[in-house]
Amino acid sequence: MSAVESTVSGAGRRRFLKGSAAAAGSLVVSFHIPFVRDAEAQGVAAAPEVNAWVVVQPDDTVIIRIARSEMGQGSLTGLAQLCAEELECNWAKVRTEYPTPGQNLARNRVWGNFSTGGSRGIRESNEYVRKGGATARMMLLQAAADEWKVPVAECTVADSVITHAGSQRTTSYGKVAAAASKLTAPTEVKLKDPKDWKLIGKRLARLDTVDKTTGKQVFGMDLKLPGMLNAAIKDCPVFGGKVKSFDAAKIASRPGVKKVVKVGDSAVAVVADTWWHAKSALDALPIEWDEGPNAKASSATIAAMLKEGLDAPEAFVGNQAGDAKKAIADAPRKVEAVYSYPFQNHATMETMNATVKISTGAGGAIERCEVWCPTQNGEAALAAAAEAAGLKPAQCDVYKLNLGGGFGRRGAHDWLQQAVHIAKEFPGTPVKLIWSREEDMLHGKYHPITQCKMVAGLDAQGNVTGLHMRISGQSILAGLAPQNLQNGKDPVTFQGLNPGGAEGAFGYAVPNLLIDHAMRNPHVPPGFWRGVNLNHNAIYVESFIDEIAAATKQDPLALRRKMLAGSPKHLAVLNAVAEKAGWGKPAPDVDGQKVYRGLAQIMGFGSYVAACAEVSVSDAGDLKVHRIVAATDPGHAVNPQQIAAQVEGSFVYGLSAALFGGCTVKDGRIEQDNFSSYPVVQMQHMPKVEAILMPSGGFWGGVGEPTIAVAAPAVLNAIFAATGKRIRDLPLKNHSLKKA
């Protein structure tokens, strides 16, 4: 029996009590959830694990352990497909469970990295997840062979049924799992040739859909623990400001209020029996802030700070070939443009939340910290909890719950640390902190703000002889993880602009190229926002390529084809969208309006993507995005119907940013505090999306993010085609597209 199973038994195997959604049946979760197993909850005896990735129950139910988080992107299902492919189990009986980061720590990181961001869930773990399945298969086969006393090579398996043809015997995984768990894992494991895949590449239904249609899915916000209290919080609306004072007596007698807690220097929380009591009391609490020096900052001061960087002499070089500045200076003709991209809030549908229970020992010393929360990175959540609790990570654990959206926001754990600090005031009692939407909007980790100056030198034939791309603006790493800067430089800045590599190779051939970054960090905290730096980099590059095409009277597709001739994978996705969209032939009118097209392509997160947008703009300036054709080459495609869903979703996210998004700063704080001031794409705005999946094999690329980057530039280029207006800063709602 493995260490984990001992722990499970030793803890008395408390588990999810399947919450009936009936009136009185609140969703109750016990204090220790080593693993969350449907089968256990149904009273099936627990089986020992075959290996860290696979548990087989006596009834042939296969439980596949998933280290990465599920936030809607579907990789819970995709990762299970990868493991099951090699395991050769019956897919109809596959279930999943999350190991905890505490167990990962105790077992020498047997499940590897828990981080779920950067579209890395599948592309970076596929090999060891498949090996986990293959290893378990070999052990299960060996156990059957041992029982039958036949060579394992004579045994075969399909759909969890093991057969020895020679003696016409069969058994199943469930029957040999206990014996298999006692075997030593093989060291030599061979993975299938992709041509033999049966589950990878199939349009399988997700494993987690049904409960999301009945209200049964328990999100972090829905968690209820026995005796739990609820907390609402307000952090100083000016980043870097502090709490000056608050008058707790004013709300002490309000119903349900237990305590007013100062959290760190900058926040105040109200703890009450219910969240509504906590939130409404907090709204009535007089708080005075010491707003500090940042209160003078505004969008205008930030824009000026970035503008200075556009021509600053010093900058980090990300990609260089030849002598771009000389080539531009020598060129008979120049094209130049300046662009900008605003702060964006992630605006996950489920606001930030975490439930924490602090336990104390003799003398009241804190001994243990347990966290239930939606997080994109269980291990980082564990480290954050330990730091806030003042404990070692081994004294803490994090029980992951499905996320009501992540988009990068739930990789940072500021909210979790707040919850730990609050729970310290109530040892022995779990406390759930929920951010109001307003708190969520005002305390994001925002899409970095940047400006960009593009300058091209052209020869007499309109060929680009030199290109200088100067990005000025915020570094995510400098804000979130300065220890990861490389000699002060943020390599993530150059997503999609790199000389090569999985994080985005710049496809265009330019003989003299300089791409550099003048880091300018305003006081607004940046974060990884779905698509990250690829979003603005793609807008800058793909808008400017169109500007060059217009200035030199070349067809935007023809110019791209010429410059991408040496980048066949970039070119292939571009050609695919152009062909399917019907580039070169006029688009049919819609509702009497002429329809125009725009193109964009980029490589990022390991994948090649392109889009062709079709838009119309009425005389009054009303923009309608009718249709988008999008192509993706992710190398290997694990679940094509889920990739299509990710591509569609990417346009919602990317178009929300392009059409409406943008957080502005006034008096040091973010001005947009709810969906009323931060509108997003709704059903009425949604174009038809035709996703072309063209996996060329041989590599593993991500699909959750890259397509977002081509949404905005394809639309901006189509708007130019329709109106002759070149929009160089977003969101579009700030611009009139009305005919002059």
């Binding site: 897919w91 987690d208 509504w276 489920e350 606001t351 119907q641 709704q682």
Partner: protein, 167 residues
């Protein structure tokens, strides 16, 4: 004790005046299928039916709901997830993160009651709920499947389900 009729049953609850119906459902009655998303009736995650009308429960003080009014939440839309919309949602794998989907389904159910065969324009006007993952096109497809009698194959997604069926 005040009373609410939720999903065909009368429930007693205790809440201060002004407490939104949403928080009575979630915190007093333990029905967490209805979600908090914005608190200002912008996102629709809290959509329930009051006497059949899709209503954003985050801005409805519970005490203003008449004792005789019938509230339906996602938990009570069908006995076992068998509402035609829920079936279509599963057939087309509509949800991504799932957080907005209770409200989305409740809004769609009310839409189908008033417009059994909604046009695209009807769907645009009737479904103003926010989804950040981007499920809109599958939501639209699922509403049409449910309206059209439930043949999910008409959506053309070719999804292979665990039981071997194809939709």
């Amino acid at each position: 004790m005040a009373k609410l009729n939720v999903n065909g049953k009368s429930h007693e609850y205790q809440a201060d005046p002004g407490t939104p119906l949403l928080w009575v459902l979630r915190e007093q009655l333990g029905m967490t299928g209805t979600k908090y998303g914005c608190g200002v009736a912008q996102c629709g995650a809290c959509t329930v039916h009051i006497d059949g009308v899709a209503t954003r429960s985050c801005v409805v003080p519970a005490e203003t709901v008449k004792a005789g009014s019938k509230i339906t939440t996602i938990e009570g839309l069908s006995p076992n997830g068998g509402h035609p919309l829920q079936k279509a949602w599963v057939a087309l794998d509509v949800p991504q993160c799932g957080f907005c989907q209770s409200g989305m389904i409740m809004a769609a159910a009310a839409l189908l009651k008033s417009k059994p065969n909604p046009t695209d324009a009807d769907i645009n006007a009737g479904i103003t709920n926010i989804c950040r993952c981007g499920t809109y096109n599958r939501v639209r497809a699922a509403i049409k499947v449910a309206a059209g009698g439930g043949d999910a194959k008409t959506a053309g997604l070719s999804i292979q389900h665990a039981d071997g069926s194809l939709t």
